[in-house]
Symmetry: C2
Subunit: 201 residues, 2 copies
DNA sequence: CCGCTAATACCTACCGATCGGTATCTATTT
DNA sequence: AAATAGATACCGATCGGTAGGTATTAGCGG
């Protein structure tokens, strides 16, 4: 006997995939990779586990999709800014605000999730490659805008990365939204001073 | 029929506890809280799971012990330095080196582990209380040493926390030992500049 | 515009492995 | 002999993954 079973409306694969990635991102961030189950991710996207496994090979595959989409969403605007925004400190400022807003929306990859993800070789390769590409691009922009040496620019970018990560961690752990924004102010100021000094030498 | 079973030498509870905490710390950091099993932690300390559960109520309890011991090991020297070391930048410098060495030894709590741990209310309470206590103490020391205002000192400490975390994350994710140390140099310089400016106003 | 057919997207039910936790017994130490 | 520390064997729940089926949709010939 065939029983009629209600199904979620069939969406084109791309659309459903995007929904699943979105749901997975939120849950991975909120609960951690290992604690978020495939079942609840599927349900959060309005389908069942079976459908989830239709779109993704396994949990790692889903994590990769999450990391990739997340990187693209964040890095895109930064690449844009590095071309349109003449002031490096303004670039940092806007980047930090963007990251903080992303955290508020529950979309910004927590450090813990990232740590877990980078244990997977495929993801680590991707992240590392993209990271280097971006560092090079930003450093190049710095060289042009500030007239400092390439080595110095690369170091400045590393410092910038550390500053961003530091803020993210603090926000994720203890700081309120307001406090985080004030801390961001200070970090931007500080980075400005650093560049100034590098400039003079 | 009774078979004679070899047992690990019986140690005084305190000693075995310390061994178990040490093993757990390493494994939690290396593999993540959820992936490190009670069984392998016990074996790493040379006993079986049964013995582990004799010393700790459950996995959370073990995690709490790990976090607590870790905090005490790191915060102790910092408190000491805040009293003996007159220069705040030197304090930051020594703190950063200490943290980096701790990472090399596999003893420094990764951000991911900390994130997980802080989801447990009991641990979050502990950590938050201790963190505030230390921030106050360091800020007080700054006020005395640099003659800056209390508010400014507290902000400086927040910045300092962010700087430390940023370095840790970078080291855990991408940077080699050498690169991390050079980044630390820059961060110390940066903090020095910040204090100088705060001083002048 | 209509039925028919494939391909696509989705669902249910289950399996097997893992792992936290416990009960109970055994060895060691004092 | 009593207290302490450790070992073993098991249970139950959870969860990733799969098999095999069902519903929906797009496309196509008429």
């Amino acid at each position: 006997m065939k029983r009629s079973v209600k199904q979620s409306p069939k969406l084109p694969a791309e659309k459903r995939r995007a929904q699943l990635v979105k749901a997975a991102t939120r849950l991975f961030i909120r609960k951690g990779y290992r604690w978020a189950t495939m079942d609840e991710i599927a349900r959060a996207a309005g389908v069942t586990k079976g459908a989830l496994y239709f779109h993704f090979k396994n949990k790692e595959d889903l994590l990769f999709a999450v990391v990739k989409q997340s990187w693209e969403r964040v890095s895109g605007p930064i690449y844009d800014l590095s071309e349109t925004e003449p002031s490096p400190t303004a670039l940092l400022d806007k980047t930090l605000r963007m990251c903080l807003e992303d955290i508020d929306r529950g979309n910004y990859l927590s450090m813990g999730l990232l740590e877990q993800a980078l244990k997977i070789p495929r993801i680590r390769n991707y992240w590392s490659r993209e990271n280097i590409r971006m560092a090079d691009a930003l450093a190049e922009a710095l060289v042009v805008k500030c007239g400092i040496g390439r080595e110095e620019a690369l170091m400045a970018i590393k410092l910038l990365d550390a500053v961003i990560d530091g803020l993210i961690v603090q926000r994720n752990i203890f700081l309120s939204k307001q406090e985080a924004n004030r801390l961001a102010d200070q970090l931007v100021r500080l980075f400005g001073i650093y560049l100034n000094q590098a400039d003079k030498r």
